[in-house]
Amino acid sequence: MTILSYLKALNRAISDEMARDEAVCVFGEDVRVAVTNVTAGLVKRFGDGRVLDMPISEQAFTGIATGAAMAGRRPVIEYQIPALLFIAFEQIVNQAHKFSLMTGGQTHVPVTYLIPSSGSRDGWAGQHSDHPYSLFAHVGVKTVVPATPADAYGLLVTAIRDDDPVVVFAPAGAMGRRQDVDLAQLAPVPLGLGRIHRPGTDVTVVAVGHLVHTALEVAEELADTIDVEVFDPRSLHPFDWQGLAESLERTGRLVVIDDSNRSCGIGGEILATAAEQMRLVAPPKRITRPDGAVLPFAEGLDRALQPSREQLRHAIQAVAKTGSAR
């Protein structure tokens, strides 16, 4: 067994895919010297014809990746900051994502958009702390948010092999994770397949990204009184609705914890779908950032707007008490 860090898992996934498939190439700012470390060692191994430093031109290089993908390459773009997705949004959502349908299936755009350190990073404030995965799920771009090193590896590999555009959010809150793994066992993780990290019978907690770890901690704290099941969807679009329905068959109670803004966020979608189609014996709850939140700089303010462990504990306790008996 080897200790695998989340960062190393991302690096290994790109490296393995570049070795497996010559079409895979890396675009990004400062990727050759690997300022974020995600692309460390790739130039040395694969050459600067496949690992390309880009000017600060997110719209252009995102569009260039689309054209390159339509001509047979499989670019992986690394964005240094989640907010750069807003600059590139046009080229991802309006171009890359739409080409397959608009051309009647004549082309596909296999580009992976990787955002290492999405969400709040200490002290980075308003323009560096967004976690915009809900936007991509909303428009229908395949969207994944791995919580563990092994899943980071497996989901990134799948994203690179996928023939559609896929956005991979690596939450800042998960980047420090390490895991004891057998490297030979690392494998692709299919999109749209959730994972139960902890089985339970009383309440299902759906946790997104780094909040999976928060949910597991809270579940342990409450273990004497409430048996919490922790469900990690891993990909938000496609979403493992069947896996969620099966979990709710067992528990009938639902709490969602999601580090994106409340209104039109993925948390709201999970609640709505559960309410429409699944077995619930109590009103569900969600914990999110506030509506339209912009993360303020001061530490206390930043933390105040992020979903917290206390909020989760209270929500689980409240949901466990309400509703009819199962």
């Binding site: 569009g63 260039i64 339509m70 349908l101 051309t103 082309t107 496609p238």
Partner: protein, 308 residues
């Protein structure tokens, strides 16, 4: 192109085309001259005013007409319409409805083609409106740095919808490219042979791996920005101005170079071809609404219904 669009406008007015189209009438020499300088395996990207480019690159007029009439036999099986017509089999990477957005896509395709060892060239068309889009200028920078085999063809037809070029473009269009070290040429966009000659030079440069060129093709849009304009009648140019602008017709310029008998035969052939294209389009089936989200994902992932 001219006759195709005249037919298409009739179909818009008769209600056979859903929405409307952006006529290319008056600008045909640009598409004809540029595409004539390309090989069959070269690529193009086009714009919201793309019928001319798509036809000149060799798309089947019947399938093109069916596409803009939203039929399942269309180039894109009715999924793209006028502003997204694409035929990847003959190098048409799609018309694009977002002004300027195709410039990087073309450049990416050009880069990938060169990496694959081919000497293909990509022509990307855009209007004078697009030279004020940041992404186009970002793309100039990168295409020049990489010496990408791409030819930027700016069709300066005098207007971006209703805004005159002079009111929207500071400096010059060629100067924008020159600032990035891209050679730029201002060409009479009404003379197909002049456009052909300039494009041939640009394509040859690109094939020699000397990098991109910008051609500013100066032309004039005779018709409306879009067929809605006939209903809305926004006032941004006078009838006299349109008449004056339309008095130099690229069809007359090129037509005068062709033997009258030959021209009459070409005209008759085209009439027959378009007759057939309209018939084909109108007799083709409408796509089945149950297939409206087909092709959304490459792997056939299906979307959940909006209402349950």
């Amino acid at each position: 192109m001219r006759r195709f669009e005249e037919r298409a406008i009739e179909l818009v007015h008769a209600g056979h085309i859903f929405g409307g189209i952006h006529p290319y009438i008056g600008q045909e020499a640009v598409a004809a001259g540029t595409c004539a300088a390309l090989r069959a395996d070269d690529l193009i990207t086009s714009t919201h005013r793309g019928h001319g480019h798509v036809l000149a690159k060799g798309a089947d007029p019947a399938r093109m007409m069916a596409e803009i009439a939203g039929r399942s036999t269309g180039l894109n099986a009715g999924r793209g319409g006028s502003m997204h017509a694409a035929d990847f089999g003959i190098g048409i990477l799609g018309a694009n409805a977002i002004v300027g957005a195709a410039a990087p896509i073309a450049t990416g395709a050009a880069w990938a083609a060169r990496c694959a060892g081919s000497d293909r060239v990509v022509v990307t068309y855009f209007g004078d409106g697009a030279v004020s889009q940041g992404v186009v200028l970002e793309t100039f920078n990168m295409a020049a740095l990489w010496r990408a085999p791409v030819v930027f063809v700016c069709e300066n037809n005098g207007f971006a919808t209703t805004t005159r070029t002079a009111d929207a473009v500071a400096g010059s269009i060629t100067g924008r490219a020159e600032a990035f070290g891209i050679p730029a040429e201002r060409v009479d966009g009404r003379d197909a042979e002049e456009v052909f000659a300039a494009t041939s030079r640009a394509v040859a440069r690109a094939r020699r791996e000397e990098g991109p060129t910008l051609l500013e093709c100066v032309t004039y849009r005779f018709d409306a920005h879009h067929t809605w304009e006939h209903a809305a009648r926004p006032r941004y140019r006078t009838a006299e101005e349109v008449q004056l602008g339309s008095s130099i017709d690229p069809l007359d310029i090129q037509g005068a170079r062709i033997d009258p008998d030959l021209r009459a035969r070409i005209d008759a052939d085209i009439e027959a071809l378009l007759e057939e294209a309209v018939r084909f389009a109108l007799e083709s089936p409408h796509p089945d609404p149950a297939t409206a989200l087909d092709h959304l994902y490459a792997d056939g992932t299906t979307a959940r219904a909006g209402a349950i």
